[in-house]
């Protein structure tokens, strides 16, 4: 191989070195051009990531992505519009691009009607947070991941690098959050096509921890493949949902449930709780930023309290309220994102010891993962989805056989309501591997849950 003119290889935070200074300078220079009555908020979202896609312990695709975007909201009086443009880290280019976008917004605002719920930017304090990591050299990733798995079918995605979120506004507020992380989301798949799901994420790659985890996945696969599938008839079964399965249900709370706007506008599954309906006293959901995996500030730079209790022991305490929603309905906001979804959810752990899960389950289904959830009746809180990966039939507290995948269709008012028997006494952090448009950070912290009469339909 002969490669000439090779610039020094930069990866992780080094690849976005200088972005903080550039972004802050961009904020300053852009805000300096504002006219009277104009207000501006800017948000930077960027990353430098290596992606490696694996299939059957081989590399299907591998590459790097360096991308950044600046979103700006211009407000003039009570009129507002937004513009998102590329952020490259090149000072002159970015400033010209942002100014061009700003001028386009200026041209548009007089043509727009007044927005009664526009929220002016404020300065409630600035912050700076940067978390360096110890990541694999991009050239070494394939060897590190694949050398020890050549005798199995190891399939999934490895993503690694820096993620940046930052905001600035014309009130003088600045926030910077940068983190260097990796995220490995994989399946170990057997000859019968049964599979065990695994995830490993963090800021420092630990080869021994990776190999140890894969050994556990192999062991689980042996159990999964040791017996023929048991076909379970549709019906209601006592069911244990492992943390990864509960995580899928928690994601649903961000899709038309915990949002105050959705409650007010008729598309929240939690609207019945506003009318007095309760869930089980075992169920507590908190927006918890204390783990520090995601920034506490939202796209406008508003900072949430470290914890926002949403549902406490089955009672709805708070919804997520953006400042815009707060203004519309004359209520207090809680620095929620504009889409009013959960950014760092935690389900409170309970009292069920891990060693007692199977004994307490006694007879029923042990589900490691759920797949492709959707509301089947949103106002009724009813969710449908599939079982996936390592799911077993259990009798007398012992695993009997893996099951053929089942479709469930049940209401959260049942399975997180009177049918919720217990939560396990330890909660796991399940990383969010989502990479739509940009690499996600954070995840869900949750215990497993034991429920009665979970309804399966197909």
């Amino acid at each position: 191989m002969s490669v000439q003119g090779v610039p020094s290889e930069k990866f992780g935070l080094k690849a976005v070195d200088g972005w903080e200074e550039e972004f802050n300078g961009l904020c300053d220079s852009t805000i300096a051009t504002l006219k009277a009555n104009e207000h501006l908020s800017l948000e930077l979202s960027g990353e430098s990531t290596q992606f490696m896609r694996l299939n059957n312990s081989k590399v299907r695709q591998s590459g790097t992505v360096t991308a950044g975007y600046v979103s700006m909201q211009l407000i003039d009086g009570d009129r507002t519009a937004t513009m998102t443009v590329p952020f490259t880290g090149d000072r002159d280019l970015d400033r010209a691009t942002v100014l061009e976008g700003l001028n386009d917004l200026r041209q548009e605002l007089p043509q727009l009607p007044a927005d009664p719920y526009v929220v002016l930017p404020a300065n409630l304090g600035s912050s700076r947070d940067s978390h360096g990591g110890k990541l694999l050299d991009p050239d070494q990733v394939a060897d590190a991941l694949l050398t020890s798995v050549q005798d199995i079918d190891f399939t999934g995605i490895y993503a690694s690098g820096a993620v940046v979120r930052a905001t600035g506004n014309s009130a003088g507020q600045r926030h910077w959050f940068a983190t260097e992380t990796f995220d490995l989301d994989y399946s170990v798949i057997g000859a019968s096509e049964r599979a065990v799901k695994g995830a490993l994420a963090g800021q420092a790659w630990d080869q021994e921890k990776f190999e140890s985890q894969v050994r556990r996945s192999r062991s689980q696969l042996v159990t999964l493949e040791s017996q023929p599938f048991k076909k379970i008839k549709p019906g209601q079964y006592r069911t244990y949902l492992a943390p990864a399965a509960v995580t899928e249900l928690v994601f649903m709370f961000s899709w038309g449930a915990v949002s105050e706007a959705s409650v007010r506008q008729g598309d929240s599954a939690l609207a019945k709780m506003r009318d007095g309906r309760s869930l089980s006293h075992h169920f507590t959901l908190v927006e918890d930023f204390t783990q520090g995996t995601v920034p506490r500030f939202n796209s406008l730079g508003e900072v949430s309290t470290p914890e926002v209790p949403i549902i406490v022991e089955g009672e709805l305490r708070n919804t997520l309220v953006s400042t815009r929603t707060a203004k519309e309905y004359g209520i207090k906001g809680n620095a929620a994102s504009d889409w009013e979804g959960l950014r760092s959810p935690r389900i409170a752990s309970g009292t069920l010891a891990e060693a007692d899960i199977l004994r307490e389950l006694d007879c029923g289904l042990y589900l490691s993962n759920l797949h492709y959830l959707n509301w089947s009746d949103q106002p009724g809180g009813r969710i449908t989805g599939m079982t996936r990966y390592a799911c077993f039939w259990v009798e007398n507290g012992e695993i009997q056989a893996p099951i053929q995948d089942l479709r469930f269709d049940d209401s959260l008012y049942n399975f997180f309501g009177p049918n919720l028997v217990a939560c396990t006494d330890t909660a796991e952090f399940v990383p969010d591997p989502d990479t739509y448009e940009e690499r996600s950070i954070g995840g869900v912290t949750t215990p497993g849950v034991l429920i009665n009469d979970f309804t399966f339909t197909l």
Binding site: M1, Q4, V6, Q50, R53, L54, N55, K58, V59, R60, Q61, G63, T64, V65, A67, T80, A81, T82, M83, T84, P86, T88, D90, G101, D104, Q111, P113, P116, P138, D139, Q140, A142, L146, D153, T155, I157, A159, D185, Y186, K197, Q265, G266, D267, K272, H371, Y372, N374, S376, D377, G380, R382, T384, M386, R388, D405, D409, S411, T435, Y436, E437
Partner: protein, 478 residues
């Protein structure tokens, strides 16, 4: 830059078997009004480049939005290093055969430039909200439009030069009705179903306000409607729900990369095996499904896929028999199964993978009245609102916004929360009526998710009205 993209090869210095550059620029505008007030007036500008390098039989890629010669050279080096570092672990040893030279262009039928000013556009959206609010029980009205202007320019070291310009428009109107604890929503054929290439015509159609009123009225009607019955019956699906049915239970299962295992950790695999192509009876003899990138104005029409393969109309399923997979040139080599030109990207920063484009069910011979008239008892459903299917694309459950009972050959009572479930491999064999061209409608969705890293892409679906026998239908939780 666009015109001079191939000149970057003058600067690139990489010892590779093949190098490709894909520059994608996109401008979009979205406007939405809720309850007569502006909710969003947003614009987006994006521009970036992916460089793909083939070395040692393996592709490596690097994407950047810093379009200087130095930055592109650095990206080329990163892509090359990825190819070299992973080549001994490659799934398949590719050659330049999967990147044949291609030269050509494609242009959407019309520009998205419409004559409406910003003020007029937002003003019309506000009027649509007024029309949607047919009663005080309509607690939320929404009207939105978006336009997207995208250019894909692909050049390669072996002389490819493909320029495609897509103009896309979509719209959505919706009304939410509430009475006590009952809430129902109706939209304009389902969320963003009215997405297509060409001009933004949603606001210039003569019936715009009548359509909005009908949506509002149907939302209101649903409040007092009975729940969809729980029964096994004949199900008639409108084209705006057939879109989803085709997408989930025909499109995704036929993607060759799923069958080859690439998607098993994310979207899943398929109940279809490589050995099924050419012989599997997928559905009834009435079932004819095409991959058709040539339909004027359909959302995912194009001249070439994103690695430069010319796109042509192909039958995937003919008279019920599976003929061809949704597999790109790479998947075709890996699987030795015939495929289509569907190596697509959602953005400059994602690598090409097998995707749907326009997947259409070809019209049959039955008129709408003939279909309904032939059914003694059944349920008719419109507009998707819920979708879920297993990772092998077999066990599905779909929900619609609006249903009507079919009794003695006539559409009768409105029913709310209409849902149905089934198994793909048997569902399509129960297809008993396929509507004629008069029932054929073209829709699209901008939100098909797949791939690792994840990609959301635009696909088109067109279908006539269809009837299926012995389907399990049911209502809501109440």
């Amino acid at each position: 830059m666009d015109q001079d993209l191939s000149k970057y090869f003058d600067y690139l210095d990489v010892d590779a078997d093949w190098v490709g550059l894909r520059l994608i620029s996109e401008k979009s505008t979205s406007r939405s009004v809720r309850d007569g007030n502006p909710e969003a007036n947003s614009h987006s500008r994006d521009r970036g480049l992916m460089i793909e390098v083939l070395a040692n039989g393996q592709f490596g890629y690097a994407a950047t939005n810093r379009l200087t010669p130095e930055s592109i050279q650095a990206a080329a080096v990163r892509a090359h290093r990825q190819a070299i570092a992973t080549s001994r672990w490659a799934v398949y040893e590719f050659s330049t055969d999967v990147r044949p030279k291609a030269v050509g262009s494609y242009q959407s039928p019309q520009s998205t430039q419409n004559d409406l000013s910003v003020a007029d556009t937002v003003g019309l959206l506000r009027q649509v909200c007024d029309s949607l609010k047919v009663s005080d029980k309509i607690i939320r009205t929404g009207a939105s439009v978006s336009t997207i202007d995208t250019e894909h320019h692909f050049v390669s070291s072996n002389g490819s030069d493909v320029h495609q310009h897509f103009s896309i428009a979509s719209s959505n109107f919706s009304a939410t009705a509430q009475d006590g604890t009952v809430t129902q929503q109706r939209s304009d054929h389902g969320y963003s179903a009215r997405s297509h290439q060409g001009a933004l015509d949603a606001l210039s159609e003569a019936d715009i306000f009548a359509r909005a009123q009908r949506i509002g009225q149907q939302a209101l009607d649903l409040l007092d409607a009975e729940e969809c019955p729980d029964t096994c019956t004949t199900l008639v699906l409108a084209p705006d729900q057939m879109m989803l049915q085709l997408h989930e239970s025909v499109g995704h299962p036929l993607e060759l990369d799923r069958i080859l295992g690439d998607e098993r950790n994310y979207a899943g695999s398929s109940f279809v095996k490589l050995s099924d192509f050419g012989s599997l009876v997928y559905g009834s003899p009435l079932m004819n499904v095409t991959f058709d990138p040539s339909v004027l104005g359909e959302l995912a029409s194009y001249g070439f896929d994103d690695v430069g393969i010319p796109a042509t109309r192909e039958f995937l399923i003919e008279n019920g028999v599976l003929k061809r997979g949704l597999g790109s040139i790479e998947s075709q080599q890996r699987s030795q199964v015939p495929g289509v030109a569907n190596s697509r990207v959602c953005s400059w920063n994602r690598p090409p993978i097998d995707r749907m484009a326009n997947i259409n069910l070809e019209p049959g011979e039955s008129g709408f009245e003939d279909i309904i008239g032939s059914i003694e008892s059944g349920v008719y459903m419109e507009a998707n609102r819920s979708w879920s299917i297993d990772d092998y694309r077999n066990k599905f459950q779909f929900g619609c916004e609006y249903g009507r009972l079919i009794e003695n050959g006539k559409l009768t009572k409105t029913v709310r929360n209409p849902n149905y479930r089934g198994i793909s491999s048997s569902f399509w064999r129960s297809l008993v009526k396929v509507g004629d061209a008069s029932t054929f409608q073209v829709f699209g969705t901008p939100n098909c998710g797949k791939g690792e890293p994840n990609q959301v892409i635009r696909v088109g679906h067109a279908s006539p009205v269809c009837a299926f026998e012995n389907v399990e239908v049911f209502g809501g939780a109440g």
